[in-house]
Structure formats: C-alpha cells, structure tokens
Amino acid sequence: MKKCTVMLMAALMAVTMLAGCGSSASKETTAASETAAAVSEAGSEAAESGSTDAAGYTTIKEGVLTVGTEIGYPPMEYFDTDGATPIGFDMELAQALADDMGLKLEIVDTAWDGIFAGVDTGKYDVILSSVSWLEERNEKYLLSKPYIANAPVIVVPNDSTIADIQDLEGKSVAVQMETTADYLVQKYIANGLNTDLRQYEKVINAFDELKAGRVDAVCTDQVVASYYLGDEASNYKTVWESDEKEPICMCFKKGNDALKDAMETALDDVRDSGKLGEIATKYFGSDAPINNVE
C-alpha cells in the first residue's frame, strides 16, 4: 500500500516535469510570461531557414509575415471582446500588407519592453506596434517611412487646470513605460520640470490611474488618447500636443532593407487602393491621421 503511494507520487512528478519541459511556459509571473510562450514558439520555428521570395526578401518563416506587436494599445492593437482575437489599426494594416505581398500573417504578442530586442533576434520580421519614429531608434533599427501622423499629448480630466506640459509642475503624470511619452516627460524632468512621473506596464493602467484620481494627467500618443476620449469623451480632454511630431512607422532589424522596401511598396499599394483610408476611418473616425504624415 505504501509502495503504491510512493510509485504514484513518483509517476505524477515525472508527468508534471515532462509537461513542464514540453510547454515553453516560463516561471515569470509578469504579463510577459504568456507572451514569452508565444514568442518562443515563433522562435523555435524561426530555427528553420527562411525563404527567399522571388521579390528578393526573406521572412523568418516561409510564406508567412511574422509581426511583433504589443496587444493592449487601443485603437492600434488590442483584443476583441473575446479576449483572444487581435484587432486594431495596426492589426488590420498588417493583414492588408500581408495580403498584398501574398503572405500569411502571424501575430506575435510581446511585452513592450522587450519588443525591439525581439526583432533583432529574429523572433519576428517586423514590428507593427505604434512604433514612433525616433532618432535613437533610427540608429539602432531600420525604420520605414511613416504611415500615421502622431505626437504625444496630455490628457486631463475636464475640470483640470492643466493646459500645457509646464503645468505638470508639482503634479503627477502617468505614462506607459518605455514609450515616447515616457521619454518626453523624462526629458522635461531632466530640464527642470518638477513632476511625479508614474510608469505603468500597459497604457490602460495609466488611464485607470487618471480615472481613480491617483494622477493628475496622462501623457500618451495622440492616437491612443483619441480612443480613450472616445469612450469617456465627456470626462476628459486633450490639452497639449508636443511640437515634436512622432509619426508611426514599421520597425525592422537593421540591414533588412529588402523586406522594408517590399513592405513600403505594399504600404503604397494599400494606400492607393483606398484600403488604408478605410481602416483609418474605422478606427479614428476619419482618415486625417494617414495624411500629413512627415
């Protein structure tokens, strides 16, 4: 009887260890854990050599355009009400581009603070995740020409007295970690602005904080602000827009010019065919953001 129990426990342990090794689950408890599983699955498939298309570029997986993105940034990339289907401007654009290039589309959901490392290490071909054009980014990675006009803005409650970034003096502002809004506020802080910067993993947390009254303002991309304001427009307002425009572009590994050129051509096709305007109107209410792109 005792021997039976011991054998049973040993068998159970062996089975759970095998199951643990089999899946790519990591022991981290952050949100990155699910994304790490998705990313490493894509990564193990990346071990197969990519194909060279007749068009002259290679993708990690033959016949598939693998796109890295951080799902959780409405209206650009977020989950549908079922909690599993990615939707959003970037997602539909990715599908349109893949269709135009004759490739299948695979989306890899990645935590934002590892997303650039992922394109360098070949976890995905391109990042389509509201990547703002920044000088530093352009040096380390290959950025395409922009497809959406964008700039950081400040969102405050309707009754707030904040009207300018300098009004954040002595107040608190929430941002999403490692975004351009985060860097922008840090730059102002380095130049003497005395504000309490609160950084969060997901942009929605920053807006939760604003709603809960724990911060006085949120600094984020204009495109995101318009989504949240759309939901609760009567309670909040956008009060300031940075002069430093940060148009959104696609991000590739440095040197991957072939794929970048191919995707820019596809982008032109999608724009000319009117599909880009269609997607823009669906998510922004008008196609203004896709024009006036610098």
Partner: protein
C-alpha cells in the same frame, strides 16, 4: 563596462531599497497577523476557525499578481471609496495579507509539532489555555518557525518584483527599465548580484537567530 555599471548603481540601489522595505514590512506585519490566523484556525469555535480558514484558503489559492492588481486597480472600479491613493501602501497591504496566509500554515504546523506532553504538564500545573500558549508553547515554536519564516522572507523578496504592474519602482523594474532604454542586458548582472547579496545577508541573520534559539534543543 564597470563604469556603465557604476552609473546604474544609484537607481538600482534605490530600487533595492523599495524592494527591501516592502519585504520587511510585509513579512513582519504578516507574521503578527499570521499568529492570530493560525490560532484562529486551530480554535474549536466555528466563528473563529471558519473565517480564518477561508482567509488562508483565499490568499493561498489566488495568484499574488492578481491580488495586487485587484487591490490596486480592481477595488476602485467596484467602489471609488475603495481607492488606495498610494501604490506603495497598496503593495504593502497585498504582500502583508498574502504572507500572513502562508505563514499562518507554517505557524500552525509549528504549534502542532510541540509535544502533547507540554500541554499535559501545563494543565497539571493548573495553567489556562492562554497561559499555556503564551508561556510554554509559543516560545518553543519560535525556534521551529525560523526556517519557514526565513524561507518566506526570501520568497517575498523576489515576489516583490511584481509591483511593477502598479507602477512602483522596485529593483527588477529599474533593471528592466535600464535594460530596454539602453538596449543592454548587461544590467541584469549587477541586479542579480544585488539580490544575492540581500539574500545572503538575511540568510545569515536567520541562521544566527536559529543558532541562538537552539540553545535548549
């Protein structure tokens, strides 16, 4: 390379300070709370043992990440009056409540491991339950509790890395922030070294405590 690490040290140490403070408060206050929980759970009175069991079941049965998230972001959505203004306070609450649940079981085990003879002798001397616990049983359990409590402390030290989701800058968050803003994985090395030093320091302290309390064994 070393000069880069030196520039990162101030931020890393600030993060380490937050980590250590949360850990110490959570385990210390959690320990006090857990004594009452353990005694409550062991009580014959259902008005005591049912809520204590339920509490322990809930806090051990749900992930710490969800607990933190719920306390900070979830509660305000149910009732704005439940908004905890400070993320630091919310973290302290979450970690304390969580640790208390795990420690309560350790304490219960410690108490139950004391020889029944001790209770009998105390009864023979005419001591009340309360006196027995206070003067005879609990002092003996202290020595037995040091390894589990030390263990919990070291676990909480690493679990504190979850506070990043409510915007607190602990050592892990600072490390990740430096890593992604400067595109380097090098910073993980000093971060791990700092964790090891903290762990070694507290392990040493717990060891000393254990030796001191083992005098009578």
């Amino acid at each position: 390379m070393m000069d880069k690490i030196i520039t990162w040290m101030p931020q890393l140490l600030l993060g380490a300070r937050t980590t250590i403070i949360i850990t110490i408060i959570a385990v210390a206050v959690g320990l006090v709370l857990s004594f009452f929980l353990a005694l409550g759970k062991m009580s014959k009175n259902p008005l005591l043992n049912k809520p204590c069991s339920a509490y322990i079941f809930f806090f051990r049965g749900t992930p710490l990440l969800i607990q933190i998230y719920f306390i900070y972001f979830g509660l305000p959505q149910f009732n704005p009056a439940l908004t905890i203004k400070s993320a630091f306070v919310a973290a302290l609450i979450a970690y304390t409540l969580n640790s208390a649940a795990y420690l309560a079981e350790n304490i219960r085990a410690g108490i139950q491991s004391i020889d029944k003879g001790q209770y009998e002798a105390a009864k023979a001397l005419g001591m009340t339950y309360r006196q027995t616990m206070q003067l005879i049983i609990l002092p003996q359990t202290v020595r037995r509790l040091i390894p589990p409590v030390g263990n919990e402390f070291i676990m909480v030290l690493k679990d504190v890395s979850l506070v990043a989701i409510i915007g607190l800058s602990d050592l892990t968050k600072v490390t990740r922030a430096i890593s992604s803003s400067q595109a380097t994985a090098l910073v993980y090395i000093p971060a791990m070294v700092i964790y090891l030093i903290i762990t070694a320091f507290f392990s040493f302290i717990f060891n000393r405590m254990e030796k001191k309390y083992s005098v009578y064994e």
